[in-house]
């Protein structure tokens, strides 16, 4: 198999996940497309950046995409982030809504998009992409414990946001 065929295979294996990650982080299909393109251009132009000894290609591509998304978010501050100190661990509310209903799903997506980026990426990687804490830690370039605490915090913030909308 030639390099180009290997590249095509890699693209088909990983591009959808990379695109969705960028979309879930940015909320913009155009930005997601740009991030996906830049991620694979990085792999094409700088294949030396990927060291198989340090891990698999998937987390590497997520890492590249994460950096590109963060750059995009800094450049284009579209969403007003939720207060980092918002108290979210409410236990006073009963379940009021069904979070699998379409309108509530959209509300949940919107709530994810206003999380501060460091919490947002924890939710997107661990909950939406079902990565292990270890894999997410490799992408986020932080210890596993930090991933857990950010994810815990992010989920509390999401619950607070949704409870304010009476969705949970």
């Amino acid at each position: 198999m030639t390099d180009a065929n290997r590249f095509a295979k890699l693209y088909r294996q990983h591009s959808v996940r990379i695109f969705r990650f960028a979309l879930q982080m940015s909320g913009s299909p155009a930005a997601a497309e740009e991030v996906t393109q830049e991620t694979f251009l990085t792999l094409m132009d700088r294949p030396d950046l990927f060291d198989p000894a340090r891990g698999e290609i998937g987390p590497f591509l997520f890492g590249v995409a994460r950096n590109l998304v963060r750059r995009h978010l800094e450049r284009d501050r579209k969403f007003e982030c939720m207060d980092d100190n918002a108290e979210g661990f409410s236990t006073n509310e009963d379940i009021l809504g069904d979070l699998t209903r379409r309108e509530n799903i959209q509300a949940l997506k919107d709530a994810i998009l206003v999380l501060p980026p460091k919490y947002r990426e924890a939710v997107v990687l661990c909950d939406l992409h079902e990565m292990s804490y270890e894999a997410a830690a490799a992408v986020m370039e932080c210890p596993v414990g930090t991933v857990r605490s950010r994810l815990n915090r992010a989920r509390s913030m999401l619950l607070a946001k949704l409870q304010a909308r009476c969705l949970v």
Partner: protein, 221 residues
């Protein structure tokens, strides 16, 4: 288990990691039971986003990236090694034929200069657009001696695949464009021209693939 310990474990519990101690605690603590339910509801919502996600990059993005890869790092399909000695042999035969064949007086120029020698064009076999992989036998070089005594009606040669280009896919949409090429331009498409003047130009047609890259060429006399 205390409520504080429960709070440390409730997220993992809601994400599918069962813990008997947590379950024992929520049976006794109504507040923590509600908290676990909320977390599970959140997990269900997040799973629903994940499973119902249909967004994907546009197909054009893949085509753009692969076309760029072809330009930057070479074509997706390598020319088989055996073709190199075969082509070298064909070139030697052509050279021998040129030097040993009896010379004929020029009857007229191909274009432009009246002193232009009769150009010899070594070309690959014709391309069938519906067949992306030309067979080995078709790759053998053959010689076309292009001489024209009088202006002839326009004739079209068969399409010749460009050696370094990605073969056409049978389902690929193509576009044919007519161009006027120099000898250097022909050489860049894999057609070597012997005896051509530097300023010689010929009309040709190119097959462009969906990505806009030339895949095959034919001379139009």
């Amino acid at each position: 288990m205390s409520c504080d310990e429960f709070r440390e474990k409730v997220m993992d519990m809601a994400r599918g990691r069962d813990d008997a101690a947590v379950l024992d605690h929520v049976r006794e603590c109504e507040e923590c039971q509600r908290a676990l339910l909320n977390q599970r509801t959140l997990s269900a919502g997040l799973r629903s986003i994940s499973t119902n996600e249909t967004a994907a990059p546009s197909p054009a993005l893949e085509a753009q990236l692969l076309a760029r890869f072809d330009v930057v790092r070479g074509p997706r399909f390598k020319i088989p090694r055996w073709t190199i000695p075969a082509l070298a042999g064909a070139a030697a035969l052509v050279a021998a034929w040129i030097f040993l064949a009896p010379r004929q007086p020029l009857e007229g120029p191909l274009t432009g200069s009246p002193k232009a020698p009769s150009p010899m064009v070594a070309v690959a076999p014709p391309l069938q657009v519906s067949s992306p992989a030309p067979k080995a036998a078709r790759r053998r070089a053959r010689i076309i001696k292009a001489t024209r005594a009088t202006p002839a009606p326009e004739t079209e040669a068969p399409f010749i695949p460009i050696p370094y280009a990605t073969p056409l896919d049978p389902s690929e949409r193509v576009e044919i464009v007519r161009v006027n090429l120099s000898a250097t331009g022909l050489a860049s498409l894999g057609l070597r021209v012997w005896g051509a003047q530097p300023d010689m130009r010929v009309n040709a047609e190119l097959i462009l693939g969906e990505n806009g890259l030339a895949r095959a060429v034919r001379l139009v006399q």
